[in-house]
């Protein structure tokens, strides 16, 4: 790696435009929201600048921490399910024969390229009482019923009761997993793709089984990608806002919805800002933990 001092002009040309853009059109706006978080709501929902920590104190009230806690464990479960589903997917794509690789990768990313709202809405059509999944189950039920009556066992199955799959927290988690899956698959795929296969082959040759090789060679080698993927999914799910609104039941309010409510119907921007920064601080803490973990495991660059 070159030292920037050896080639100042090129370094400046490459770094300055993008940094300036992020500084002006991202960091400065964020500072405004940060200033808001110390302000006060006017009677009609104006934002009065002030210096008060009331909004943060309010954000730390038990009920809001409860919502935050719910968001955290929802994000954690989502991350776990994403990993269980996504790791084999990434493995499958990375180890597929070269000619199928591009196609598989495209198929994994394609749903991610359709509008989030439309995707989430499609889940409603799948999960609702008279949705595709229940239709499918009803059909299976009917066939089994016919089969049983054929062998003179009438009415073992009873009448079909559609499952209540929508408007509860499980539906939110299904939706979140669906939204976040590609963010986990891609980083893991990237590390697996570049992996030195001879290490795994050596492990197998030396008599380690398939699973031991996976646990002690493949996963540690792919660790940076796995870590990045898990963090991305967790961060995205933590701040989610659309999925609980569309798929959630009466108790699915997450921190993202609370923030949206404060910026929207409650017209309390200072409190909404304080909540946002609370979320941001938490994300920073998670990232910091990740950096520490990453530094401890060897050969990892952020």
């Amino acid at each position: 790696m070159e030292n920037w001092r050896d080639n100042k002009l090129v370094a400046a040309i490459l770094i300055v435009p993008a940094s300036a853009w992020i500084l002006i059109f991202f960091t400065l706006p964020l500072v405004i929201v940060w200033v808001f978080s110390f302000g006060e709501r006017g009677p009609q929902g104006q934002t009065f600048l002030a210096f008060t920590l009331d909004n943060y104190a309010r954000a730390l009230e038990l009920i809001h921490l409860g919502i935050l806690w719910k968001s955290i464990w929802t994000a954690a479960i989502t991350t776990l399910i994403c990993f269980i589903l996504g790791f084999p997917l990434a493995l499958g794509v990375a180890f597929a024969p070269a000619r199928y690789k591009n196609l598989l990768l495209l198929l994994v990313i394609l749903p991610f390229w359709t509008n989030l709202l439309i995707r989430t809405y499609a889940w409603i059509a799948v999960l609702r009482t008279r949705g595709f999944l229940n239709f499918g189950l009803e059909w299976v039920h009917g066939k089994l019923d016919a089969l049983f009556s054929l062998v003179k066992l009438p009415d073992v199955m009873g009448t079909f009761q559609p499952l209540a799959l929508l408007y509860n927290h499980s539906a939110v988690i299904i939706g979140l997993v669906y939204v976040a899956l590609p963010f986990l698959v891609l980083p893991i795929y990237a590390t697996l793709e570049k992996l030195d296969r001879s290490l795994m082959e050596a492990s197998l040759d030396l008599g380690a089984g398939q699973w031991r090789t996976m646990a002690f060679v493949t996963i540690p080698l792919a660790f940076p990608g796995i870590l990045s993927g898990l963090m991305l999914v967790f961060i995205l799910s933590l701040g989610t806002y659309l999925t609980p609104v569309l798929l959630g039941g009466t108790d699915s309010m997450m921190i993202g919805n609370l923030i949206a409510q404060e910026f929207g119907p409650a017209r309390d921007w200072p409190f909404g800002s304080a909540l946002s920064f609370l979320l941001l601080y938490i994300t920073f803490i998670i990232l910091w933990i990740r950096a520490v973990v990453a530094r401890r495991s060897k050969g990892v660059s952020y």
Partner: protein, 273 residues
């Protein structure tokens, strides 16, 4: 001739693994199939199947406001993709190439737009532009899209460059090429697949965004996600599904096209993310 047994690392040839993959793909495509199926449903609402029709495609095609929204989305996504790709690629190259003080902190800061919750950024952008008396419209949407797409491009390009053999540049320099020529003839061609992949990512991020776009849009700048959101709020007509299906097909064609171009570009396999 009997097929050889799969070697241990050929996961994709193992039956159980194929089943796992199959389940995953069903999960990924179940809602997409539902969405496409209902676009042919002869009912104003997506509740029951009333027979096959193309009429919602015709309706969607003749829906002028839907078309205008689509055009706006294309304008925003087009400009955002070009600018964020150029800036992001430069940044990615710099992060690969240079050591400089406080690089870790800089790195973290550059990644903030990926990390920040969308709604927080949306409100921040609205407050920022209003305070500066900048008219909300396609310009402000585009500027914001560039801000959150740029880091993604940088990440992709940097990852691509990680495998670059630096001695090639040195060889070119030894042969008398100047810095620009070396970049143009040696570095850029190697970087290109990463740039294309990053651009693709930026394009899709921009086309997909609703929250930040909503907060930064003004008169005459309704984009497709905003339009679809307002349609969905009122009642989900198959028109929305038809429009989405068309978009899926367009995306598919675009992606396959890019893949073909990338494959022609050389040995690169898939997106080097």
């Amino acid at each position: 001739m009997k097929k050889a047994r799969p070697t241990p690392l050929e996961y994709t040839r193992k039956r159980w693994f194929q089943l796992v993959m199959l389940f995953n793909f069903i999960f990924l495509y179940f809602p997409i199939v539902a969405l496409v199926a209902f676009s042919f449903n002869n009912s104003r609402r997506n509740i029951t199947w009333n027979g096959f029709t193309f009429k919602y495609y015709v309706k969607a095609f003749h829906n002028e406001s839907l078309f205008d929204a689509f055009l706006n989305s294309l304008i925003v996504a087009g400009i955002s993709t070009v600018v964020s790709t150029i800036l992001g690629a430069m940044l990615g190259l710099a992060l690969y190439r240079f050591k400089f003080p406080a690089k870790n902190a800089f790195d973290g800061w550059i990644h903030l737009p990926i990390i920040i919750p969308e709604i927080c950024m949306g409100v921040a952008m609205l407050a920022f532009f209003s305070r500066l008396n900048i008219t909300l419209g396609l310009f402000t949407i585009t500027v914001s899209h560039i801000a959150f797409s740029l880091p993604f491009v940088a990440v992709v390009v940097r990852a691509r460059m990680a495998g670059f053999d630096h001695s090639l540049e040195e060889a070119a320099r030894d042969l008398g090429a100047n810095q620009w020529q070396t970049f143009k003839d040696v570095t850029l061609p190697y970087m290109m697949p990463g740039v294309v992949a990053g651009a693709l990512l930026a394009l899709t991020l921009s086309l997909d965004d609703f929250v930040i776009t909503f907060f930064t849009s003004g008169p005459g700048s309704t984009t497709l996600p905003i339009k679809i959101f307002s349609m969905v709020r009122f009642s989900v007509t198959p028109e929305v599904n038809a429009a989405s299906t068309v978009l899926i097909v367009i995306t598919l064609i675009l992606s396959v096209g890019t893949m073909v171009i990338q494959a022609r570009g050389g040995k690169d396999k898939g997106l080097p993310i």
